[in-house]
């Protein structure tokens, strides 16, 4: 082994955290300015909220995949729980709280609570498993949530809240309102999600994750990731910490789901399928596991890229696939890495 200069982790991490906050704030200000000066196309403006939601999703999944070290293939499930519960709550509160930002905030909190509850219930069986088995069970739960929401009917009338499964048997009284309509999802949503709200949610998510990582819980998560047996041997309650990370991640995903849903007029469960879970996982992996800033940037780039490639229309998904494979090969194969680094002008600086 060659002698390397040992890096100072504390300094590196602190720098990375401040850089993340700084970049997110700067990007927000730039987007706001561009948006107000009409420099931003309307299609781009429409993407600001979804991008924020995906960024929060990337941060929240990073907590499970990057920090806790467990693979989750069903993260979109929590997003959908949040989307449906949040929107339903917003609809119910419409007359009670007329001020939209407050309604949005409360809806996101409710969404987070519901998603956290789902995360807890799912976590009980899931976290007993290991590795690939854990991953496949999260996939299974993602599909189950999708199936259930696709067959769920929920409405309100003078008698109170009404639920039913499979077919609409809520039998709402006249004047009642069917909110969730099975495979039709929720329609006629008031678009109350805003870019500032997305920005605030992202900042809160970052604060939660960064502060958690630099606390006893975060150290425990990472210890479990690095060596489960050693973590047990120093008295860490593996189940408790895994559950904490899982539930926290689900809660953030739920809030992101509510934000996302309230940017559209209609939302259906099929929007949050396996492919969405994978998309979010791709953000995390491309951005670097455990690297929040990387995940955020990947989320932005991979949401904007397909839009920008629209002129290639039918080739765009093909290009996307190729980019994905090439990126993975480029970042993970030693020979290819070496080959690329030959063209890197900063190479010598880094090697010092």
């Amino acid at each position: 082994m060659t002698m390397r200069r040992l890096i100072n982790l504390k300094r590196v991490e602190a720098r990375r955290i401040y850089l993340t906050y700084a970049i997110v704030i700067a990007a927000y200000i730039i987007c706001q300015v561009m948006s107000s000066t009409k420099f931003l196309s309307s299609s781009m403006r429409g993407m600001l909220v979804p991008i924020c939601a995906y960024m929060v999703m990337a941060v929240s999944l990073n907590l499970v995949v990057g920090i806790l070290g467990e693979l989750s293939l069903g993260h979109a499930g929590f997003m959908s729980v949040g989307a449906f519960s949040g929107v339903a709550a917003a609809v119910l509160m419409q007359s009670v709280i007329p001020f939209a930002p407050v309604r949005l905030a409360i809806a996101m909190i409710i969404a987070a609570v519901f998603a956290a509850a789902a995360g807890f219930i799912i976590g009980i069986p899931v976290l007993r498993l290991k590795g690939d088995y854990l991953a496949i069970v999260t996939l299974a739960f993602g599909e189950i949530i999708k199936s259930i929401l696709n067959n769920f009917y929920f409405g309100i009338d003078s008698q109170g809240l009404q639920f039913s499964m499979l077919t609409d048997t809520t039998r709402l009284l006249p004047g009642g309102k069917l909110i969730i309509k099975g495979p039709m999802g929720i329609g006629g949503i008031q678009k109350i999600a805003t870019f500032p709200a997305g920005f605030i949610l992202l900042m809160i998510s970052l604060m939660i994750v960064f502060n958690l990582v630099n606390s006893r819980s975060g150290r425990a998560f990472m210890a479990i990731r690095d060596d489960r047996i050693a973590a047990e041997s120093i008295g860490l309650d593996i189940t408790k910490y895994k559950m904490t990370a899982f539930v926290m991640s689900a809660a953030l995903a739920g809030a992101a789901g509510a934000l996302f849903a309230m940017n559209y007029s209609t939302i259906v469960a099929n929007k949050f399928d396996f492919n969405t879970s994978i998309l979010i996982l791709v953000f995390v992996v491309l951005g670097g596991q455990g690297n929040m800033l990387g995940g955020i940037i990947a989320a932005a780039v991979l949401t904007i890229l397909p839009e920008k490639l629209r002129s290639f229309s039918e080739y765009r998904m093909l290009l996307y696939a190729i980019v994905l494979i090439v990126m993975m090969l480029a970042t993970n194969n030693a020979e290819i890495k070496e080959f690329i680094s030959r063209f890197n002008p900063f190479r010598h600086k880094e090697a010092e």
Partner: protein
């Protein structure tokens, strides 16, 4: 496989060192045994350890030494027998609970949290001493700061025993081999154990590193006044710092005694060197 050698009792191991004689032993193993994959990996293992005793666990490769550690720390649940830790039966406890009850260990093949910094490895082990909750952590409330600062100080102090305070912010995985072994010991100590299990602490070390390690183990023993069991192949180290020695072969205890008694014990010599062919 049946042991070919007979058990040669040496009386002194049930007798605690003079300074511990008045106090209850920290550990009592009674007829401990485990069957792994149909093989009796450890059988009829009896051992009593005094409050502040240092005991060596030796034996040829595959004798079941690490298995004994795994039994004590409940990585394996014993098939038979009882383990009393500070007089408390550890039956049904998990690895985590046993650690909380007072056993900490190191591993033969180093198991550090490689991506965490050196000091975070130690602070992670202090987790159960900390009281602040997640809300305090997320909002950085005063009790978070207070406890983190206290933990940081204590971790630095522990690291300084092994002269590692300068490496506090380095990733554990990038430490040189010897330092990794030392860090494992510091991490184990950070959990406030009453019994420390060291699994081949000198493995892969050169003679001067081993000598340093020996001093450090003595220092730890003196500072913390705890019991230590160590598995080691380096006989000079074992004979030098251990007060009692327990020899395992084929999962059985073949001898127990003081270093002098063990060195002259025929069963031990036979286990290590083989039996002379009868003419």
């Amino acid at each position: 496989m049946k042991p070919k050698t007979k058990y040669v009792p040496v009386p002194s191991m049930s007798i605690l060192p003079e300074r511990d004689a008045e106090r209850a032993p920290v550990l009592e193993c009674i007829k401990l045994g485990i069957t792994l994959g149909g093989i009796k990996a450890v059988e009829d293992f009896n051992l009593t350890i005094g409050r502040t005793e240092i005991v060596g666990l030796i034996g040829p490769n595959g004798a079941g030494k690490t298995t004994v550690f795994n039994l004590l720390t409940k990585v394996y649940q014993p098939t038979t027998g009882t383990i009393l830790l500070n007089g408390q039966d550890t039956h049904g406890m998990s690895t985590m609970q046993v650690n909380k009850a007072g056993i900490a260990r190191t591993f033969q093949n180093i198991r550090l949290f490689r991506n965490l910094s050196v000091i975070d490895n130690v602070k992670t082990a202090m987790n159960n001493d900390m009281r602040y909750n997640m809300v305090s952590a997320i909002l950085r409330l005063p009790n978070y700061r207070r406890e983190e600062v206290a933990a940081h100080r204590r971790a630095l102090k522990l690291l300084s025993i092994f002269d590692m305070q300068n490496m506090a912010d380095v990733p554990a995985g990038s430490l040189p081999y010897g330092a990794q072994r030392r860090l494992e010991i510091v991490r184990a100590l950070a959990t406030n154990p009453s019994l420390l299990l060291l699994d081949e602490p000198a493995a892969g070390m050169n003679p001067s590193e081993t000598a340093d390690l020996m001093d450090n183990i003595r220092k730890v023993h003196e500072m913390f006044q705890i019991a230590i069991i160590l598995i080691e192949h380096d006989m000079s180290l074992v004979m030098n710092i251990c007060e009692g020695i327990c020899v395992l072969n084929f999962g059985h205890v073949i001898a127990k005694g003081t270093p002098d008694e063990i060195q002259s014990n025929p069963a031990v010599i036979e286990a290590y060197l083989g039996r002379k062919k009868e003419a």
